[in-house]
Amino acid sequence: MQLNSQTKQFLLGIRDEAPILLGVVPFGMIYGIIALSAGLSTFEAQNMSWIVFAGSAQFMAAKLIAESAPLGVVLISGFVINLRHALYSATISPYLKGLPVKWKAVLSYLLTDEAFAASIVHFQKNEDNPNKHWHLLGSGLLLWTSWQVSTAVGIFVGAQIPSSWGLDFALPITFIALVVPGLRDKHGILAAVVSSLLALLFFGIPFKFGMILASFAGIGVGLWSESR
């Protein structure tokens, strides 16, 4: 059977996203468990997963809402944690040039860490394919669906899994699996090392701002090393 190019790109997006779900599903379940223990209702916890649709920001928001933090604090910390998405937006924008604004809005809504990670690799290899945006739709929708379902599982069933299993460790392990193969040269390795070390040093800075500072320093050092 000959698939048309759009369907094929969509299915490739699903295929490339699938392995990443192994790290996302436990994370979604843990979010469900944590949101309930923080005092959100089942309904609020589930709805946050499509309204906000950003893992780390959801963890932070659930925690801050439970502590009755002011609205401004929740928004500022969420914005800072999500700043990296502006950089994803910039990275991916040249490949989405000329699409109708509806497409751009939908793909922006779906632009999570995991969909970005799967689709940017595809875009770089298939720059000339006019239907490559379907790849991001495929990876994004699969991630979106898995996030909603795993949140629900976390809320209704996952609460039975003892936290002693340490399922939250699946998150950093997944990120290692994603980052390490991308360390193609010494500039990338230097960026990773500087960013990791500074993230430890800056850990005490509130609202995860240390993570943002460390990231920018890592990017800066990578650029500096490359241009030397």
């Binding site: 392995p19 990443i20 192994l22 609020e44 709805n47 309204i51 649709f53 920001a57 809402i65 609205l71 929740v74 928004l75 969420g78 914005f79 999500n82 990296r84 502006a86 950089l87 994803y88 937006s89 910039a90 924008s93 040249p94 989405l96 751009k104 809005a105 793909l107 922006s108 809504y109 632009l111 860490d113 970005f116 460790f169 699946a170 998150l171 950093p172 392990i173 990120f175 290692i176 699996a177 980052v179 390490v180 193969p181 990338g188 960026a191 090392v193 500087v194 960013s195 990791s196 070390l197 993230a199 430890l200 993570m211 460390a214 990231s215 320093a217 890592g218 990017i219 990578g222 650029l223």
Partner: protein, 107 residues
Amino acid sequence: MSIWLTLILLGGLTFLTRFSFIAVFDKVEPPRNLKRALRFVPIAVLSAIISPELLFANGQFIWDWNNPKAIAAIIATFVALKTRNVILTIVVGMASFWVIRLLLPGK
């Protein structure tokens, strides 16, 4: 009520952050240096998330070589370097984490 306001504003802000450059770059060509910098974005951001996950617990730095997460992460890094296989890296990483915890009671 205020929880819903918080969720909707946070969701809107998250969307606008993701939409930002996608919305404007049709008209604005990204500067060459920004394009060069973006190669380092996933590397730097994910690294900054990983290291505190491994070396901090309850807001405290873990001054202990017998840290199952860190040891499992080193093993996973080697697997990722050798195989470049995402699933295998996650499976080996989680499995070594569980085995190491069994070998180091109380961790």
